[in-house]
Structures are given as structure tokens and as C-alpha cells.
């Protein structure tokens, strides 16, 4: 017999059983439940945007990086560096980065360190520009894959870090990086690399190089936030990445790039 009392009781029962069953289904399906909790912690994916036209080669980024991250200032290693490309009319690509551009580019002579600095006449130049470089924080980082001891790893927000207490200094990761972004830390004798200033970005600050750049040539953003200016620029402007053919899925994007840059 259909009474008001029966109908109400049935509705109440089915609602109650649904409320129990749904979370239970998640417990029984731990993969999905796990995916949901991880998804929350993965709402951030750091990416970098570099405008090579804005860069003037002042090297303030390199100086700031070294002082912020306590990379020995006089040692010829750096987490970020600026390259100068001068393409001459005879088809030659001249590239240099003296002292990783720690002191900026103040001399027109190309200084590759191995031979005497090369003078190029103004009239011989086809095009010339600066390219800031840093770790690309690849989605498929080859440096992390090759680590035999689990000292280097990728954080959930996409940054490749090195555990200084665990690194044995074998140098595989330094060889594996196609971008030359890793080096031996002269003081700690372990592999070292750009962290996008992980200690700064996790506190809401900008990386030291981004802050030090007076020209806005360097920008960092959250690629998972569709309203982030960097994400918008990457999605709507003509950008490229370095050495795409390696399949590393680099997350440092370049505006106004030229094919001569490797």
C-alpha cells in the first residue's frame, strides 16, 4: 500500500544508502581515490617564459641567481646563463657566454675562452641577440631517469631537485641533460642545478633571476592555471622550446627565438 509514510521512508533510505555507497566505492577503488588526492596537490605546474628580444645581456639574472642560491661567485659554474648569438653575413654563428654572463656583456668581441676574443665588424652582422638559459624543468627529465641512487627527482609541481645528502657525485645526470643545465657544485661536490628558486616560488616570491631582470625578459607561471599571464602567453603567442626532438618535454618556453639557437 502506498502511503505518505512509506514513500518518505523509501526516499530517506535510498538517500542514506547512496551517501554511504559513494565514499565506499572510492575506498574500494583506491586508484581513483588516490588520483583525487594527488590531483589536489598537483594543481601547480611551474613553467618559464623567456623573451629573447627583451633580453639586453646585462647578466643581472646570473648575478642574482649566484648570490641567492649560494653558487660560488668566482667559480665558472652557474645555474643560469646568458648566451650571445652574433650571426654574420658569411653564414657563421658566433656564440659566447663569458663567465656565464655573470658580469654582463660589456665587450663587442666574441669571447669563447679557447681562442683570443674575436672582433666582428658592425657591417658584417646579419642578426645578433641574447638568449637566457636555465633548467627547462622537463616533463620527462632524462637527468632524473639516469640517477642510480634516487638522489634526483621530480616534485609534484614539476621541478627537478637534487638531494645533496644522497647524491654520490657520479655525474650521470650531468651527462644526461641535453641542455647542459647541470654541473658539479664546487663546495658540496654533488650535482647542482636550477630549481626555479624552489624556496622562493613555494613562498609566493618570484625566482631571483625573474626579480632581478629589469626588462621583463624572464617570467614564471603556473601552467595549470589558465588565467596565469604566462600560461596565456604560451597558449596564444608563437613560442618554441629548445631541442624538442629529444622528447624531454621542456617547460621553458621562448618567444622571438631563432633556429640557430641550440
Amino acid at each position: 500500500m502506498v502511503t505518505r509514510r512509506n514513500v518518505l521512508a523509501k526516499i530517506f533510505k535510498s538517500a542514506a544508502s547512496l551517501a554511504v555507497a559513494l565514499p565506499l566505492a572510492q575506498v574500494l577503488n583506491p586508484k581513483k581515490a588516490h588520483a583525487q588526492t594527488v590531483e589536489k596537490s598537483k594543481s601547480v605546474r611551474w613553467g618559464f617564459l623567456i623573451d629573447t628580444e627583451k633580453c639586453v645581456g646585462c647578466g643581472m639574472c646570473v648575478k642574482a641567481c649566484k648570490l641567492e642560491n649560494e653558487v660560488p661567485f668566482e667559480a665558472n659554474v652557474s645555474r643560469t646563463w646568458v648566451e650571445r648569438y652574433v650571426l654574420t653575413k658569411d653564414g657563421v654563428v658566433h656564440a659566447d657566454s663569458p663567465k656565464a654572463a655573470r658580469d654582463g656583456f660589456t665587450d663587442a668581441k666574441i669571447d669563447q675562452g679557447e681562442m683570443p676574443p674575436l672582433t666582428i665588424k658592425d657591417d658584417d652582422i646579419n642578426k645578433a641577440f641574447f638568449v637566457p638559459k636555465l633548467c627547462n624543468q622537463c616533463e620527462n627529465p632524462p637527468c632524473v631517469q639516469v640517477c642510480p641512487v634516487g638522489a634526483t627527482y621530480q616534485t609534484p609541481d614539476g621541478i627537478a631537485l637534487v638531494d645533496r645528502s644522497w647524491c654520490i657525485g657520479c655525474g650521470y645526470c650531468i651527462m644526461a641533460c641535453p641542455y647542459g643545465a647541470r654541473f658539479f657544485h664546487p663546495k658540496y661536490h654533488v650535482a647542482d642545478k636550477c630549481t626555479f628558486c624552489y624556496h622562493r616560488i613555494s613562498k609566493g616570491l618570484k625566482p631571483a633571476c625573474v626579480m632581478a631582470c629589469p626588462f621583463g625578459a624572464r617570467q614564471i607561471g603556473n601552467l595549470k592555471d589558465p588565467n596565469d599571464p604566462v600560461t596565456i602567453a604560451i597558449n596564444t603567442e608563437r613560442v618554441t622550446v629548445l631541442k624538442e626532438e629529444f622528447g624531454t618535454k621542456p617547460q621553458a618556453y621562448y618567444l622571438h627565438m631563432s633556429k640557430e639557437v641550440k
Binding site: 639586453v56 643581472m60 642574482a64 638531494d163 624556496h199 632581478a212
Partner: protein, 156 residues
């Protein structure tokens, strides 16, 4: 049952390795979010990197004590240059103002931007205020005449 002896030795070695391993391998070491290939590591190391010391404090941290210079600089052509680019990382200076920051007053600092290069594809060729640095008052610091907080030639 003497043939079982090697089996006991084998099991003993395995147990020993497992016991030693539990002492050597740090807590938190294992496979994390990105799987075995990319996140086989000690989870606590992420916090170690998050707690790394911040040296560059940003120009907003200078504003409270150096308001005059901050305002002057913020209205000048050099407004996009961070205080710490020339004054060095401020580190603990805001908490301990007695520790003076070393100011870089060298010609080399200014010439990082103000050396002329004919690089049309770079912002370098669009910067104003180029000087023939080799012949313009050689030996003198630029800041002897030019005020870096207000580099206008009319206000010199």
C-alpha cells in the same frame, strides 16, 4: 638433513641485509607521486629545498625605511631596476640595519646595459643613454655625475 644448511645460511644473509638496510635507508625514502622513474627519492628533501635561505628580499622590503629614495627611483627611468641589483642582496639587512650593504658604484655595473652594441634583434639596441665608455671621463665612477636613482640629464 645437512643439505638444508646452505638454505639457512642464505636466509640468514637475506635477513641480515634487510636489517642493515632498514638502518641505512632514511625514513621517507621510496616511490612518490611521479612514479618509480621520476620520483624515487626521500620525500623530506622537498622540505629541505623549500626551507633554503631567501637572500633577495625585493624592493618592497626597502620601501618602509628608505621611502625617499624608493619614491624617487620609482618615478625615474630606472624604475624597473631592483634596488638589490646594485645594492646587493639585502639578506638580514632589514632586521639589522647596522650591517651596511656594499653598493656597487663601478663603471662595469652601468656598462652592463649602457655599452652600445649594434644588435638590432635585441632590446640592447633600444636602450637610451649610450656613452663612448672608453673615452667619456675614463677612470671616474658614473655615479660621480649621474644619479642612478634619477638618471635624467636635465636634472643633473
Amino acid at each position: 638433513m645437512h643439505f638444508l644448511k646452505p638454505v639457512w645460511v642464505f636466509l640468514g644473509v637475506v635477513a641480515l641485509v634487510l636489517v642493515v638496510r632498514s638502518f641505512i635507508v632514511p625514513k621517507g625514502f621510496g616511490i612518490h607521486e611521479k612514479g618509480y622513474m621520476y620520483s624515487w627519492h626521500n620525500i623530506h628533501n622537498i622540505d629541505w629545498w623549500k626551507n633554503f635561505k631567501v637572500n633577495y628580499q625585493g624592493k618592497e622590503s626597502c620601501k618602509d625605511c628608505h621611502e625617499d629614495e624608493y619614491t624617487k627611483h620609482a618615478a625615474s627611468k630606472h624604475m624597473n631596476i631592483e634596488c638589490e641589483d646594485c645594492h646587493g642582496p639585502s639578506m638580514e639587512h632589514p632586521d639589522d640595519p647596522n650591517g651596511k650593504l656594499p653598493i656597487d658604484k663601478s663603471r662595469a655595473l652601468c656598462s652592463r646595459c649602457h655599452t652600445k652594441f649594434p644588435y638590432l634583434q635585441s632590446g640592447r639596441s633600444k636602450i637610451k643613454g649610450y656613452a663612448d665608455l672608453a673615452n667619456h671621463e675614463p677612470g671616474d665612477a658614473c655615479v660621480k655625475c649621474h644619479n642612478p636613482h634619477n638618471p635624467n640629464l636635465e636634472d643633473m
